[in-house]
Symmetry: C2
Subunit: 509 residues, 2 copies
Amino acid sequence: MSEQKIGTRSELKRFRELAQQMKQYDEILGVVYWDMRTGAPRKGIGLRSEAVGALSSEIFRISTSDEMGQLLDTLSAPEQAEALSPVDKRLVEEQKKEYDRNKKIPADMHREYVVLSSQSESAWEEAKEKDDFEGFVPYLEKIIDYNRKFIDLWGVKSTPYDTLLDLYEPGLTTTELDRLFGELRSRLVPLAEAIASSDNRPDTSFLEGTFDKEAQKKFSRFILNEMGYDFEAGRLDESVHPFATGLSPGDVRITTRYLPHDVTSALFGTIHEGGHALYEQNIAEELAGTPLCTGTSMGIHESQSRLWENMVGRSRGFWQRYFPELQKHFPGQLDHVTAEQFYRGINVVEPSLIRIEADELTYNLHIMIRYEIERMIFNEGLEARDLPEVWNAKYKEALGLTPPTNALGVLQDVHWSGGAFGYFPSYSLGNMYGAQMMNVAKRKLPNLDERIAEGQLLPLKEWLTGQVYTHGKLLLPAEIIERVSGEPLRSTYLCDYLEQKYRDIYRLG
Amino acid sequence: MSEQKIGTRSELKRFRELAQQMKQYDEILGVVYWDMRTGAPRKGIGLRSEAVGALSSEIFRISTSDEMGQLLDTLSAPEQAEALSPVDKRLVEEQKKEYDRNKKIPADMHREYVVLSSQSESAWEEAKEKDDFEGFVPYLEKIIDYNRKFIDLWGVKSTPYDTLLDLYEPGLTTTELDRLFGELRSRLVPLAEAIASSDNRPDTSFLEGTFDKEAQKKFSRFILNEMGYDFEAGRLDESVHPFATGLSPGDVRITTRYLPHDVTSALFGTIHEGGHALYEQNIAEELAGTPLCTGTSMGIHESQSRLWENMVGRSRGFWQRYFPELQKHFPGQLDHVTAEQFYRGINVVEPSLIRIEADELTYNLHIMIRYEIERMIFNEGLEARDLPEVWNAKYKEALGLTPPTNALGVLQDVHWSGGAFGYFPSYSLGNMYGAQMMNVAKRKLPNLDERIAEGQLLPLKEWLTGQVYTHGKLLLPAEIIERVSGEPLRSTYLCDYLEQKYRDIYRLG
């Protein structure tokens, strides 16, 4: 064995150690974040946040240390890289990407930006409450300005906005998004308009009333079990904003929120987070304890939550099987309703101003608008102060509505205040990935709809495990969708699915 | 300003940073431990334990680093130390003690011992289950052997056992413990005997029955509130073994265990852990975020849990006020019982074989036996294989009972299997410190018994805060008791208190 290879071997060992250590610290931070959001005592938050900051800094320090830089140089040299196992190779790639990205931002600038983001989020909160966009403009301007500088430092890809997209969906481009959202616009805007003028709005009156919290909890647990969520590798708790967190495949936690007057909130929230959780619970054993043991991108992650929430959880077959169970959980309250009525009621389409309250169909239009605006900011020089005008015009055009206030318009989301530009597209990408995968699943799994209607959800879970979950971050999003469907991501499947489903529900002929 | 002083100042700053970092990591580990004991999913425990191990190692690394060694050398030099604030001075002292102790154990030896302890705890568990002391002997021998080596490496104080005592109760000596336990033996053994032959055993039949869990929870929360436990700086959960954990003064958590057939278990468990928690919640602001923000010793900590559990929570006055409340929580179940009957019933004395089931009085005899045996092991060469014989003889002598099996005798406690020699005395020290403090409190706080009987518990809590809690680890245990009572620790106050209380309950005249 050559001396060089022996050298690489000890360097590989050290690299793996550092990667494992960062993952371990990350797992521990995950527990603390979960705790902070599920009931940590108020008076301890100040010191706890400082402690979290200290450990986060340590992870950052390791990931950008000189030692890490040297190890990455050695291990990513072409002649070495090809000797690595696929896992090690991918691990080196990921870590190198992070190293390069972090090293390009001067430490002072990074510190200033962390402080600014935190101030900006507070300013946004106040501005939203007071409907005071003007008060928020100076912060938003600075946040945009820093992001423009980051793009220059990281290096402009095909367009400046592409550099930001790559943070959340590696390899995704503006060209591709233009194509994807172009089709969404041309097919979903007319569909939403046709629905708006339909006389067949589903009845939703039976969703009103008070639904016992304990029964809601019980039903949430029941459905998670049916989906194949493993309660010995997770737990279900409550929090103000529902979330799922994968600490390790053996500990993937879900939270939900029970509203007494809205039984659908906890129900679909639980299925949504349950989809995220199935992903994280089923990553291959060999990736456990490495930074590759997580979802491969925001978009693929969101595809799983949305596939389970909407394409399974809001399907006709699902409620053929589970509506009688729901009725049993709330005796007397839903006796006069049929499974079909319930199915139609939970799929009502209603153009609205607020993204997080939107239905499955128009949700994509909310995202499309945000995508177009972000692209204008970074590729066409749109400035912060002009956002409300552009925002309102786009809402009028796509959804036929004009926000009466900025609080109900451009100020509604937290994302931009913290600098998360390029994140929004993930939500619709999730819908598109999901539809494309389900299209394949229906061909590969015989009688899938019928099986779902019999409560056999596990074959779908197993298939998704093999196709998606098991790979963790070992495959890139584009590789996943290509392997699953034999073609790159297309919006056609989402549009087809939505058209078919909603033309039926609204009897558009 | 001299150059030397400027140098010291930057070293002091760096030292404080490292101390804070260790405390922050410790706080984070505390959250993870709490989580593991209150419901973390089973399947995540393996990786979680490794992650905890990694962060613990990092704390150990910092505390024994060359940088820490150099900082401690500089800051503890006589001419520098006197320029430090009392907090910094004490911090340097504590850190130096830890540094010296850890540096004296070779790294290999430390690693071997960690592995051995873990194996030994498993072997103990099995041995206890199978009543197989012989199977446990090889492990116990090695554990004792390592501890004898540690004593040599750390340096023998007045006697070898003194070196171990110092780990848990800094400054405590065998000479002093001989004096303290000597008086306990001479006064409590006859008292227990007199009680055993008394005809006035309190009635306890009303404690049998089934007590609603939700009502038990509610009453536990009610009593904690009355004690002044701050629920905005803590929370009450359930775990198999109750504990309290002070993550920071703003987050001090308690767990308890609700037994349907024993209402006293959760009740006194909660008050006990509540006493620990009051200590940690009320440490001075200026110590928060430093390693001095914790109880000063095992013994002083235990004094607070036991003072609240026994001297307050099992007092006649306490139940004059709270028994009607307890009756309200369990309607119909305790109607035929008087507060006085309840008070006597919860104070029944019953010599028994098992320490953790012992009453307030005989508990001290269980500890005395363990102390005498530990002293024999390290100062007189008693060997592992001879422990059952010594154990059984001492139980016969002090409690009049002979364990029918080793599982009910020498194998009952986990402590020795993990190498925690020198820990047991803390429990009785807690009782002694507590009695000595209460003796002063009764002189300093006018009509203390009457106030407790009116449900005014806060004056006692405030007094203890000023005397004990606020100081955290800034004062040594001996300094605390000296400042509170004007004299060193004596066992007289505990013996007086127990004699008075139990001669009354058992009408020994």
